[in-house]
């Protein structure tokens, strides 16, 4: 009784991940989401606080976006699905939780109205749309889409022409928005900070704190959790940079290594990309997931690692944390980090849920 029509796998919930066949697909014994997508998961997003309960969205390379309701007892109920013409690369909720935005490699972004279960195209680019984020400003609201056609466009959902087009020097690789700040990172390690108060404007260009390609970016807020003050930037080099927009001392900004294999003196290290970073909404601690198939929790203020996972048998391609900070979701699927040779179309993809409220709490309060 598969809820998602196209899937040819039946949906039975594993509950505690007790499958006897594959040993490593769930070493942390986390809850498996039922009816996961058939191809690699590119993005995960939890519903905003305005929506009662927890809903999880996942976009995948099978051209679909699936939505589950996550109940308090850990049960995951598949709710709905939409399709694109090409792989879905990013997904975002709007502020009231009634609409979902999806960005796809078919060069469009669509708006999915959950109540009517209809989706309409609202954005168009000349190349695959890599990122989409909803901006809720004080006097305007719009969708920000970043694409490999080197532009960032802002769309009012009611109009086919964009409100604003910003040209970037290179293809947009990742972006994040936390009003009133937005960060866009492009190829060749270009970093741009935008301010969004009355209209989106470029605020500052940053020199990259990293040596290699940028992979993911996430904005964090200050200790009182009101204003965005900086961002965490992950690279393909197993390194994350924490960068404040206006540091009080230069030593506030630092980088740390993660997602690398353990070193021995004569063997070179395996270095894995950091695929996604998510910040806990309340604690300010962050989670990273990498191509090595591990996830980790970090405390950036104490500069320590809070928890690391065992290694999964696949890379972890996406992660998300629920709005109340209780659930950490991560997707185990191939991220193309080793090219097409390691791509197995039949390999199952998983989304796992973990209760993270305790593990992500900072320790040793000084």
């Amino acid at each position: 009784m598969s809820f998602f029509g196209s899937s040819n796998t039946s949906s039975f919930s594993f509950g505690g991940g007790t499958a006897a066949t594959t040993t490593n697909h769930n070493p942390m014994k986390d809850i498996e989401v039922t009816s996961p997508p058939d191809d690699s998961i590119s993005c995960l997003a939890f519903s905003p606080p305005t929506l009662p309960g927890n809903f999880l969205l996942a976009g995948s390379w099978a051209n679909d976006i699936r939505c589950w309701q996550i109940e308090d007892n850990g049960q995951t109920v598949p709710k709905a699905q939409q399709m694109h013409q090409g792989p879905v690369l990013d997904v975002a909720w709007n502020d009231d939780g009634k609409k979902v935005f999806t960005a796809s490699a078919d060069k469009t972004a669509k708006m999915w109205d959950l109540e009517s279960n209809q989706s309409v195209q609202i954005a168009q680019h000349d190349a695959p749309v890599k990122t989409c984020h909803w901006i809720k400003g004080s006097n305007y609201s719009c969708l920000m889409t970043g694409s490999w056609d080197k532009t960032v466009k802002f769309w009012d959902t009611r109009s086919p022409t964009p409100l604003k087009v910003m040209n970037m020097t290179e293809r947009v690789y990742c972006a994040d928005v936390k009003y009133p700040m937005a960060m866009v990172s492009c190829a060749d390690k270009k970093l741009v900070c935008l301010k969004l108060e009355s209209e989106p404007q470029e605020y500052q260009k940053f020199e990259s704190p990293l040596k290699y390609q940028h992979r993911c970016i996430s904005i964090f807020k200050d200790k009182s959790n009101t204003n965005p003050v900086g961002f965490a930037l992950g690279s393909i080099e197993g390194r994350v940079a924490i960068h404040y927009i206006q540091p009080s001392t230069p030593r506030d900004n630092f980088t740390f290594k993660c997602h690398r294999s353990t070193t021995t003196s004569n063997q070179p290290q395996d270095i894995y990309a950091v695929n996604a970073i998510s910040f806990h909404p309340a604690y300010g601690t962050l989670s990273t997931v990498g191509s090595d198939g591990r996830w980790s929790f970090w405390d950036k203020d104490a500069r320590t690692k809070l928890k690391g996972s065992e290694q999964l048998d696949q890379s972890i391609s996406a992660c998300a944390i629920s709005h109340n900070g209780n659930i950490f979701a991560y997707a185990s699927s191939y991220d193309w980090s080793k090219g097409h040779e390691h791509y197995k179309a039949q390999q199952k993809n998983y989304i796992f849920l973990r209760s993270c409220a305790e593990e992500m709490k900072p320790r040793n309060k000084k």
């Binding site: 196209s6 020097t169 060749d188 704190p209 290594k257 290290q269 500069r303 040793n364």
Partner: protein, 367 residues
Amino acid sequence: MVVCKFFLQGKCKFGDRCYNEHTQPNPRQQGGRGRGRYDHQSQKRQDFSRDSPFKQDFIQPSRFQSQSHNRQQGDFSSPFSRGSGKQQTFQNQDKFHWNKNNANRFSAFQEQRNDIQSMDNASHEQQIISTIQEDMKAWLQERMWPFSCYSYAKETKCLEGLPDIQPEELRTIFYLHGMESYQGIIQEVKAMYSMRKQELASMNDAVKSAILGNLNSSVEDNPSSCLTILKMYGPGVGFKAVAEIGRKSPAGTTSDAPLSNPTFPPSQFTDTQKLSVPSFGTSNLVSLPETVPSTPPASISTSTAAVKPSLFKSDGVAKEQSSVAVTSDSTYTDKTQLSEAEIEQFEAASFILGKIPMRPPPIEYCR
């Protein structure tokens, strides 16, 4: 001398007249370790690591300082790295009260500092070069994503010749165009990157001066400008609506390949378009005149797909070495078909590494 405690708070009203010493606390505390300006370890963090049960989990300090700042030991390394450094503006921050000229009021140290500084510029360049070489050697061992841009340190320009390609871009190309085209592109991309990395790892004089010249110039870095990857997924190329069932394998979209044929440009490897490209029977994606493929196999690249779409602009000399695909149907190339750069190489006394022509010389040179 006693360090002025008001200066440390930023509140000393005597300033230069102060009887106590106005020096930065940091170089003193770190004395002997000689860390460069990229060090972000604080005393606080060190203490924490001793107490913390997660001793080996604490965030390791950035690797950059050991590689690029193995400078003269002692207290002076810190102030110099700020002084001779590049873009960072932190040294101007008031909070530090640190000013290169006032850091030391003792003239005895003045001359020593100048010597070290001039030595520093030359050795600084040497540091850069050796950092690049080490990084390239490690990178060539293929334990990391290979298709990325690179700079030798943070907040510095990217090096030329190493564009940026994301895994998702390659995956999109694979899903759009299917295995054959994709493999050809990957071969080309891999060859180009490894050639450039080897060049940088070996670092002969020409490469060295090119790198240093480029780093010192104020031209914006744009290593990806040589990519024409937009053609692969940009305007004119798209996914068709496919049936939901059986969509599992992306190879299923190869049936769409004929649709994307017209958008594939003919091979952009060589300058001379009048070359005829042998088609090996299997490739039906490019409609170019066939020639008899009777050439000795050694002179032809193994991948047929390499003949087709290219991700890189043909760029005259620099890209000449990536022209692995084309050849003529005799052992010697016709002189009229060679580009200028290739002719230059054949006529030179010896080949320049990195510019060796991929095609056999014309018979005229062999006599």
